[in-house]
Amino acid sequence: MRMIALSNNKGGSGKTTTAVNLASALGERGLRVLVVDLDPQGSATMWLGGRESSIGLVEFSAGGTRVSEMVRSSTAPGVDLIPTSPSLVPSSRGSENQTGLALVRGFHRLPDYWDVVLVDTPPTLGYLSLAPLVACGHIVIPVEAHALAMPGVASVIASIDRARRNVNPHVELLGIVACRVNPTSHVRDIVGQLRARFGPVVLEHTVRDAIRIAEAPALRLPITRYAPVSGVANDYRAVAAELLARLGDLSST
């Protein structure tokens, strides 16, 4: 089981969109995929046809809760979902670290049933975005093709570096996915700068900007089901294939 966190401290970079549609593209390939929604806004939960649940990873980490009580099926074939839950936001500010630790333990208690676990994180620098860096082995950074998105990438890379030094020496940056790419010279320039700065970790395939992506959440369908023959659906399929190639043998942990 490979656990991949989609992380970027900047909002609107495409974390949820990539989590949902990458999961669906992986599910199309016959893989068993689990999406964990750590964003209290619950966008991935809603997109995949779920709803906020009172049982999440925090409750699961304490024991006494079965996986089947926490995991829900989704509208994407082959994709399961751990919805967002109110317990992700502790009532007292001092217990944030405890919640983060509970999340890490919850991740470690997940059964080795799924081939890929995708973790959607909120666009904040806090325990909800840092805990996956402790629990997951791979990080994917979705990035909007915009000049102001580049500091967000640098921020996540700095966090990965800190996590590797302090608590998780195995965490690695799997890839940077340029999202919402449109055929303008400015966007080409941004993607070129990403490649020049971060090298081959930037995926060859990019995800185009398409209105279909904006329409799909209203129907609670991933793009591979809402517009299966669209260009953007094929983009996500190509990104999924490229990430799988980077992951190598999924049976090895």
Partner: protein, 236 residues
């Protein structure tokens, strides 16, 4: 159709036939030459005007004077716009444009410094402090400074004078046309306007500030990770 009467009698089939000349039998009406407008029957006067208008287009040289005048007005407006753009580029304060006759081609003029009704020009209310009547036109800028006499009236008057002086100097040195500048190279050059930023070119490296992580990232991450380690050690 009887021809001896000179004009055709209207027939039920043709309620409004065109007059025909007795000698040639050709229609005397102008309308058949250029086509009958749809509203001709409803507004005969208007149809005649339309007909004359269309005929007038055939007259050689018609409208040349109007066109020349409009060209001149357009040229003047374009020059003024160019001067304004130059002043903006050089960072110089905008000078109110001298009043010019309005025309359709001219741009909307800037607010004129004509006298405006301000507290300085309006009679003071009864029982209140009496404002010194303004003896010259006041601009909106000076009006606010010279408005009602208050304990700070002396400073307001000084501001008024300074504003008037600056306004007068601005009017005294109207912006020069670029052609004049090139024709008088002996004059001191104006302040060089800052060059516009160069557009990014493909292949340019990203500026450093875009590649730096915010300084709050590392301490925050360290705090969290160290807190996790402390929690785990405490639980053991």
């Amino acid at each position: 159709m009887p021809r001896d009467k000179g004009w055709a009698e209207p027939s039920p089939a043709e309620p409004n036939p065109a007059p025909v000349t007795p000698d040639t039998g050709r229609s005397r009406s102008l309308v058949p030459l250029i086509g009958t407008p749809a509203h001709a029957e409803a507004e005969p006067g208007r149809s005649l005007a339309v007909a004359w208008g269309r005929l007038a287009r055939l007259v050689p040289g018609r409208g040349l004077r109007t066109r020349a005048r409009q060209d001149a007005e357009f040229e003047a407006a374009a020059r003024e716009a160019y001067r304004s753009a130059r002043r903006l580029e050089s960072g110089a304060p905008l000078v109110p444009a001298p009043p010019a006759p309005r025309s359709a081609a001219a741009p909307t003029p800037e607010p004129s410094p004509a006298p405006v009704a301000t507290p300085a020009t309006v009679p003071a209310p009864q029982g209140g402090l009496v404002a010194k009547p303004a003896t010259r036109p006041t601009t909106p800028t000076t009006a606010s400074a010279s408005a009602p006499t208050t304990p700070g009236a002396a400073s307001a008057t000084a501001l008024d004078a300074a504003a008037a002086a600056s306004s007068a100097s601005a009017w005294a040195t109207p912006p020069r046309h670029p052609a004049e500048q090139s024709a008088t190279p002996d004059r001191a050059p104006e302040a060089v306007s800052p060059a516009p930023p160069r557009r990014r070119q493909p292949g340019d490296t990203a500026p450093d500030f875009l590649l730096r992580a915010p300084t709050s990232v590392s301490p925050k991450a360290d705090d969290f990770f160290e807190g996790l380690v402390r929690h785990v050690e405490r639980d053991r």
